[in-house]
Amino acid sequence: MPTLLLVEDSEDDVFLMQRAFLKAQLNHPLKITTDGSEAMAILADESQPLPALVLLDLNLPIHSGLDILRWIRAQPRLKDLPVYVYSASIRTQDAERAKEAGATEYLVKPAGTDELVKMAARLKALLG
């Protein structure tokens, strides 16, 4: 089963996401990195299979989610990789910028745990 790559620097969000995946029975192995450089290194490693999708937080230290997304889209091998940008921001321009930079979709981090489970279920449906 292909992995999912979660790029998220908030421990709380990682915990909540893992739990939501579990509840939604999204059983793909989850690779987690809190750091943009590490994420890029993982994706650049051609000896490893590509993840099924990337969940990318916008608000990351040093390299922002948008920087990483632009880098991904600039790599020929990664240009079709599904990248879901997700953020607490409901600012329309954040969504627009993410779309412009090549996000597959922009997801607003839901406020409730149930909503997060629903989001995980949606991702599971997408992965088939």
Partner: protein, 486 residues
Amino acid sequence: MTIGPESGEELRNLYESSRLPAVFLDGGCRVRSFSSEFGRLFNLGDRDRWRMFWEAAPEFRPELGWAQRLETAMTTGLRCEAPLELIRTGQTFLVAATGYRTNAGKLDGAVLTFTDVTEVKLARRDHSQLAAIVHSSDEAIVSLDLEGIVQSWNPGAERLFGWSGEEILGRPVSVLVPPEKAAEQADILLRLRRGDRVPSTDTLRLRKDGSVLEVAVTLSPIVGIAGSVVGSALVARDIAERKRAQRDLEERVRERSAELVEINQQLEAFVYSIAHDLRAPLRTMSSFAELLLEEFGATLDPVARDYSERIARGAENMDRLLIDLLSYGRVARAQLELKPVPLDEAWQFALTQHEDQIRTSAARIRASEALPKVLAHEATLGQMLAHLLGNALKFTAAGAAPDVTVSVERRGERVRVWIADQGIGIPSQYHDRIFKMFERLRPREYGGTGVGLAIVQKGAERMGGTAGVESEEGRGSRFWLELVPA
């Protein structure tokens, strides 16, 4: 009249009728006779006849050397004149002395007549004061005849325009007018001929060397004694300095405004990012409070459960408030591109926003007729209707199912959209207040952030419309939006 026995009646009458102060002196400067006017003026009576004139009329003190000239008049018959100021009455007289000739042609004494020239003197003083003002004025003061030919030219004009009086007198004032202002000047001359005053205008004029001046020019018609316009007076002032100061000021205002816009934008961005950054820890709070309830709810004692619920609720409320504030900020500040928006689509959006609530409350919702298109920002209008629908669903009496009707009404150039409910209503004294930020009438029972109606009003305003409400307590509310039809 006090007059000697040798004078005839007719002569006396002539003397008196002239009302001229006059005194007749003999060769030794004694008072022989005088007119009543003279007597009144110098307080002379009958007793003063034959007194020495200087003693009888001590107030008679003309300029030095007068006695000598009076003597000459007596001996040669020549007329001499001198001004006399009578301090007591404030009058000025021109005193004329002429030698008196007898029938035999012999000189015998003198006649002094007094002409009141007070008015003339004052007029002359006024005139010379005015002339001094014109002469020393910094402003150019010029008089023109009806054809616009320069008739007088003060030193101020010389300094301003560079032409000396000699050079320009008799030339048309149009030599000062730049070609592009010729039509304006012709019009001005026409108006002056009609007797209109031409109010001060900022314009351009030429100096003798061809350089262009920024001046304020006022022209007034000069009306002659006969009452007709005989020419015009032109007053011109150099306003280069004032214009420069004005331009500097405008520039400073522009700079300052730009700074303020910049600061305002920074501040908004700052508030915006704070509101967003606040959402992240808030989500953590609400999520973990929920987890606590979800995973340990069964084992928590009721007080601990209550506390966890309060934490979750508080976090949720704050999140809603942040979202509403951000949304208000967007409606108030963002560039809203207005285009024709079908009202029913915006209404559908509002319905989708509240579908859960509509289902669970068994609400009855009707749109009474086909809804037209309005000039609006689609997303904002959807949001506004969602707030109004949300209120209509929320503010119902306990246990009652919401009943909401949407209708439209053409009002002149506008379309009014009504969202009416059968809910608890609003006392009329609060009708204005509820549209203000953070205003809530019954927060304990109905919650809410107090931002929704502020968004509605601001949104309507940004679309060139208005919003309002008709309501009575206990009898439902009819909120309305008035928008521009598309």
